[in-house]
């Protein structure tokens, strides 16, 4: 006798969910939406009551947390799922996790949790293991079953991104990890409590296996408290509407919204095949040394996608040809892929009255076994899987932007590229107190790409979170007293150019103060040094790299004593160093994630991200927009002249006749410098035939040519002999 409706087991209902959709094409076989159609107003009230319950859980539970990412940066989420694992309602917050939770339920069903350890009212479960549905171990899930008269009728879930995971690098965004054994604290699905409370022993794990015990224990309590509170609210809804309505209503939410998504694609897009490409870099060479032989190298990460917008309005994403799994931090499993990429799906087409897992019923993926997102090594590291999965968030933006643009729905265009710089810290204060922290300011606040009708918007949104906030510098400084914020601003010229330019990138600048005995920073960056995106849009330039600068052994203390001002972004750091106003013993510049960087008092840590791509030919930019940029200090006269062909006077006014002439000259230069594609192809082919690739590029091609689809394209484009091999 199982715990689900009509005595079915959890395993049975999870399998039935899959079978019914496969057989009928409707979620749960629901050809007819009886509740929706018989009384839509009642149904809407039902749905909104559940959403309100989730939001209520979030807003009350988060006050238990002390973690600024949960408190003020919105890195948390509370969910309601049906027994089969489909998420039907959610609070605002880290919405992507709606897509991964169904995998967690499938995992515990397959693992036989119903028999052992048993699933009973009041039980509390936990998972942060990527193999079983969590995207990576910084994202921790606690969930409790909802029982009604002995029948499992759903799950309530609390989720947040924790401050430190106890990995090789401090923080929750570590980018050096050769295997799961260096990922840090990773717990497969586990029953961690009973009677709606976590067991006492569970706290010890956080205390002993992570660097930020207090934050993590409180975060755990927050997740459990929110899930339990949500359950109570849900039971009120069950009492009000009746159990039969509740049971069927959750299923109708999924099917109704599946239909909405399909209809939206058919209304706004154009069927066909679209391509997306991202190329990035992961650098381990010389970082882990001989200890991890398989990791002592760099990788160029190849991330292609062929997206099919099918005649029936569903979407198929074929990622064949991507980099293979490796001894690095960015392997991932399907739940992580579906989770993070949904963050591109929500804003582009998957928004409905309640965000839910209906998207899973109209999207399919090809993730070839052995590739980075389908690792066959059970011990593959996944600590920062999201670093590379995250690049596919922008696949939905890129592809659907082409489609919406072609269809004439220009207002639905929303361009984004990989974005975000964050960091983890660990240190020992003067009095011996060991502490750790992390920050996501430049992840939770990003600019967007240009639109086909206007410039990109600065500081507009957050990639991983539809309800983002940059957070408060003061709270950050209170919790991380070594990080004194001396600048947060938009950085001039820092964008991809175009007829409409991308949103300007955002920079922050910190001075390290009184770190005590030691302080180490590990910085995550979204770009890999190859540029922000591999392709521009509509003739615009793609966005440009993240920048991370450390200036060590500076004279900042003297400057402060003298009451002088200080640099506010990496450009000013460079300028001041050149002018001798700022002195530094050494300077490090990165466009990628960094290894652990030891910091001392007076060091400068400047970072910047989200310098987004443009749209259209820069030579077609309206002179009035050039003048605006100069007026507000977003662009320098030099860039206006070189890139936009706009000659300006000392007041920033465009000299029209001179500019028109300059634009003509630039077009002429294009004509002189360019060659016919055929000639270019001949030259390029020669290099390919002779295998004249830099080592890392060679390795990338050698790996990706193992996959049939990419091999066919590559061989066909360069007309190579069948036995071509790298």
């Amino acid at each position: 006798m199982g715990i689900c409706y009509q005595g079915k087991t959890l395993k049975e209902v999870v399998r039935e969910r899959e079978r019914l959709f496969k057989d009928t094409g409707y979620a749960y076989g629901l050809e007819k939406l009886e509740l929706v159609e018989s009384d839509p107003a009642k149904f809407m009230r039902f749905q909104m009551r559940l959403v309100a319950a989730c939001i209520n859980a979030r807003e009350t539970a988060k006050l238990i947390s002390a973690n600024p990412m949960s408190l003020v940066q919105g890195e948390l989420l509370f969910l309601l799922a049906n027994p089969e694992g489909d998420v039907t309602s959610a609070s605002y917050g880290l919405a992507g996790h709606i897509q991964s939770f169904p995998f967690i339920i499938r995992s515990i069903a397959d693992l036989g949790f119903e028999e052992d350890p048993g699933i009973n009212e009041g039980d509390v479960f936990f998972n942060n293991d990527a193999r079983y549905g969590a995207p990576h171990n910084a994202d921790c899930y606690n969930w409790v079953p909802i029982f009604y008269k002995g029948e499992l009728i759903g799950w309530t879930v609390g989720l947040n991104h924790i401050t430190d995971v106890g990995g090789l690098q401090p923080g929750g965004l570590g980018v050096i990890s050769p295997s799961v054994f260096t990922d840090g604290f990773t717990v497969p699905p586990t029953k961690i409590g009973a009677n709606f409370k976590a067991h006492k022993w569970w706290e010890l794990h956080w205390k002993r296996r992570t660097r930020t015990e207090a934050f993590n224990v409180l975060d755990d309590k927050m997740r459990v408290a929110g899930a339990v509170a949500l359950q109570k609210r849900v039971m009120e809804v069950v009492e009000e509407f009746g159990i039969d309505y509740f049971r069927r209503g959750l299923r109708e939410i999924i099917e109704r919204e599946r239909r909405v998504l399909i209809q939206r694609i058919k209304t706004q897009a154009v069927p066909g095949i679209y391509h997306y490409l991202n190329i990035s870099m992961v650098k381990y060479k010389g970082v882990v040394g001989k200890l991890f032989a398989g990791s002592n190298r760099d990788w160029i990460i190849h991330e292609p996608a062929e997206v099919h917008i099918r005649p029936d309005g569903s979407l198929h994403m074929d990622l064949e040809g991507m980099t293979s799994e490796g001894d690095f931090h960015c392997n991932a499993y399907e739940p992580a892929v579906r989770m993070l990429t949904s963050l591109g799906a929500w804003p582009m087409f998957a928004y409905t009255s309640t965000i839910n897992s209906s998207i899973q019923y109209m999207t399919t993926w090809n993730l070839p076994p052995g590739s980075m997102f389908n690792p066959q090594n059970p011990f593959a590291a996944t600590v920062m899987s999201l670093a590379e999965v995250g690049k596919y968030v922008f696949m939905f933006h890129t592809v659907l932007n082409y489609a919406f643009f072609a269809r004439g729905y220009l207002e639905e265009y929303l361009g984004r590229e990989p974005d975000g710089v964050g960091y983890g810290l660990s240190g020992v204060m003067k009095d011996g107190f060991r502490w750790a922290g992390g920050d996501m300011t430049l992840i939770t606040c990003c600019s967007c790409k240009a639109f086909p009708y206007r410039d990109g918007v600065a500081a507009a949104f957050c990639s991983p979170n539809p309800a983002p906030d940059m957070g408060e510098a003061e709270l950050g400084e209170f919790l991380q007293p070594t990080q004194l914020n001396i600048g947060r601003k938009l950085v001039p010229n820092y964008c991809g150019h175009g007829k409409y330019r991308g949103g300007l990138g955002i920079g922050m600048c910190q001075m390290i103060v009184d770190p005590g005995q030691s302080l180490t920073a590990a910085v995550f960056a979204s770009s890999g040094g190859m540029g922000r995106a591999a392709t521009g849009m509509g003739g615009g330039y793609p966005g440009i790299n993240d920048v991370v600068v450390f200036a060590h052994d500076t004279n900042m203390r003297e400057l402060l004593k003298e009451g002088k001002s200080y640099p506010r972004d990496f450009l000013e750091v460079r300028k001041w160093l050149a002018e001798g106003r700022l002195k530094a013993g050494s300077v490090e510049v990165y466009n990628t994630a960094t290894p652990n960087i030891p910091c001392k008092d007076g060091d400068i840590f400047a970072s910047a991200s989200t310098a987004m791509g443009g749209w259209g030919d820069p030579l077609e930019r309206d002179y009035a927009l050039v003048e605006d940029d100069l007026h507000y200090g977003w662009m320098t006269p030099d860039a206006a002249r070189t890139v936009y062909g706009a000659v300006t006077d000392e007041k920033g006014k465009v000299k029209v006749a001179e500019s028109n002439k300059l634009r003509q000259q630039i077009r002429k230069r294009r004509q002189e410098r360019s060659v016919d594609a055929r000639e270019w192809w001949r030259e390029e082919r020669q290099k390919v035939t002779k295998k004249e690739f830099p080592e890392d590029v060679y390795n990338m091609y050698a790996d990706c040519l193992k996959y049939g689809k990419f091999r066919r394209e590559f061989m066909g484009m360069w007309q190579l002999p069948e036995d071509y091999k790298l």
Partner: protein, 191 residues
Amino acid sequence: MEPRDERVSKEHLKLLVEGNLAWEEVKKMLRLRPKDRDRFWKYLEILQERVPWKDKILLRISDHLYIVAKKGGGRVVKCDCGHEFGDYRANWKLSCRVYVRKTREEMAEVVSVEEALPNANLVEMREFYCPGCFALLAVEVVPVGYPPVSEMFPDLDTFYREWLGKPLEDERPDWFQDRTLDIPANWAKEA
């Protein structure tokens, strides 16, 4: 003929296409549910009025580029300047003029922050120009030897017949077969 859906007028749409619609008005269009069903036809009218040639636009695929129906048969990619790139089933980038920025200095002409330049040791910056008007049509930042990325290959017959309910006159099963690789195959033969 169905009446016009004036919730988004042709004039408003034209302003949006030209980049002159006020942001507040754009947001109203964003909030519009359901969308105006005749948007595509209004869009085509506006686009057709903007180009100096008569070929019928079937789809706009980039800032300057359209798939058009040729009177004598055929569907080709065409720039608003009038230059034609050939059969739309092949990636139009293979009919462009190409300039490759290979060094930091060359890239610095169009990337205005030196710390944020792409790594010129690993990638090149390709610019694809229209051979007619030398407008910049596409930019790629990829390693040497990377096949040009095909942005979109629309299934026009399905689109017009099943999604718009107005089938094209020259429907054929082979319209939705990518012909990009025919181009290098021919070049190789001629070499």
